[in-house]
Symmetry: C2
DNA sequence: ACTTTTCTATTTGTCAGACATTTAAAAGTC
DNA sequence: GACTTTTAAATGTCTGACAAATAGAAAAGT
């Protein structure tokens, strides 16, 4: 691991990259302890604050964790699924909110990916997944529900659908697609009528999953996708006035 | 934005989280300048190195960028698609390599998502996308190609397929699924015969895309998925001996 | 001999102050 | 007016120090 003091990049960025590469390439394995900050400062010929800035960069990506005390130090962290979920969601949310991505584009991507999970979910979903979906459908019918709470429940419903595929990698990927879109979905005002429509589509999806009827799930998801986009278009049109 | 000096969390982590929240909630908008490090140190009642560690955390997530000089400082960064790609790939790669995810699970997720893009790509792919795919197929037929170079070309081929859908959000999501699997794919030894088989499937995909024949693309992808899994199973079996 | 307490060394977390470097704008010069 | 020099502000880096946490060794007590 070498560092170039004359490079245009910051020293802390270079050091972070060197360690990151070592982790990705498997030269540093999970739970392995890195040298102490003082030792690294020596090795890289920089000061301790510079090493610390590099370590904080890695900590922000959940690549390392640190522990104080006698046997403490920085350790290569096993990137857990929950950590990866969280990062995926933050990144996706910001990407959508900062880049003038049209609702249609985001919606198309989301439903395309979700429909990819549907056949697997129809095949493998457990009674638990179905129960979660039914419970969320019930919640969506509560009268006093705010738009935000309705969206939250919507996310939980779709998450259960995706989790039904019993493939953690799929669930991880979809977390970004489904939850990252929430701020965009929150912009939609759900009238009583549109809520009823969505609830009936959700019910159709749950029914089809119960029958393990993959084509029916797919058709209904397609319909839901189209309906969501039409709702969004209405909102845009109203806002234009 | 408030900080609790008695919290168990590091001060720099708290400060980073406070700023991150402000960005996600839209209280800080793109290209807005944050106060100088000295000012923030005052505001949060911490030292400048602590503020700097917080800023480095945010920089690691591409949430801010810094500029030196008179009018310099830290600015809220527009998270670009390339930046998001890079993060997505790193996270996915590490997630797969650190969590004993079976090849089948990863492969299933990857092809499920890729097949979701196929119909859109059949509809919208340009001549450019096709040309890229043909070029990669040609490269895959070179005799002296290493397994790694073959995998690289494979990734480029599939990336062109996904990009054909002309939906940047899809491309972003698929980047993790396709490129994150590369270390796993690199474990497979491609014999001359298996390469021929893969090339012929790639050719069939390109042909079907040229005809805009979505069902044929889907069928061939399904076949390719099955073939890849059978190759992996062979490798595992050989390694077991 | 065993348990409990105290001490100690190590390591990260934080602070203060200083200097180097970069950069844009203001001031000066022709 | 165009060019050069100066200046001020900001980040980047270094040094040295102390605080706090923590595990293990040493000491004390039973």
């Amino acid at each position: 691991m070498k560092i170039d003091p004359n490079s245009s990049a910051d020293l802390s960025a270079q050091i972070a990259q060197a360690i990151r590469d070592a982790i990705v390439d498997g030269k540093l394995i999970v739970d392995e302890r890195l040298p102490s900050e003082a030792e690294m400062a020596d090795q890289f010929n920089v000061s301790r604050p510079t090493v610390r800035e590099a370590l904080k960069r890695l900590a922000a990506q959940s690549l390392i964790r640190t522990q104080r005390g006698a046997t403490g130090g920085a350790f290569v962290n096993r990137l857990s699924f929950p950590d990866a979920y969280a990062q995926q969601i933050t990144t996706s949310t910001l990407l959508l909110s900062m880049n003038a991505v049209s609702f249609d584009t985001a919606c198309e991507a989301r439903y395309a990916l979700e429909r990819a999970c549907a056949p697997l979910s129809a095949q493998r979903r457990t009674a638990d997944h179905l129960a979660t979906m039914r419970a969320e459908i019930h919640r969506q019918q509560q009268p006093g529900l705010t738009d935000e709470a309705f969206c939250d429940s919507d996310v939980a419903f779709h998450r259960a659908l995706v989790d039904g595929a019993q493939n953690p990698v799929l669930s991880y990927q979809l977390a970004g697609a489904v939850e990252g879109m929430q701020p965009l979905m929150n912009m939609i005002t759900f009238t009583a009528r549109s809520r009823n429509q969505i609830v009936s589509l959700h019910t159709a999806i749950a029914d089809a999953l119960e029958r393990r009827d993959a084509p029916a799930v797919d058709d209904t998801l397609k319909e839901l996708s189209g309906y969501t986009q039409s709702l969004a278009r209405d909102v845009m049109a109203k806002r234009a006035r």
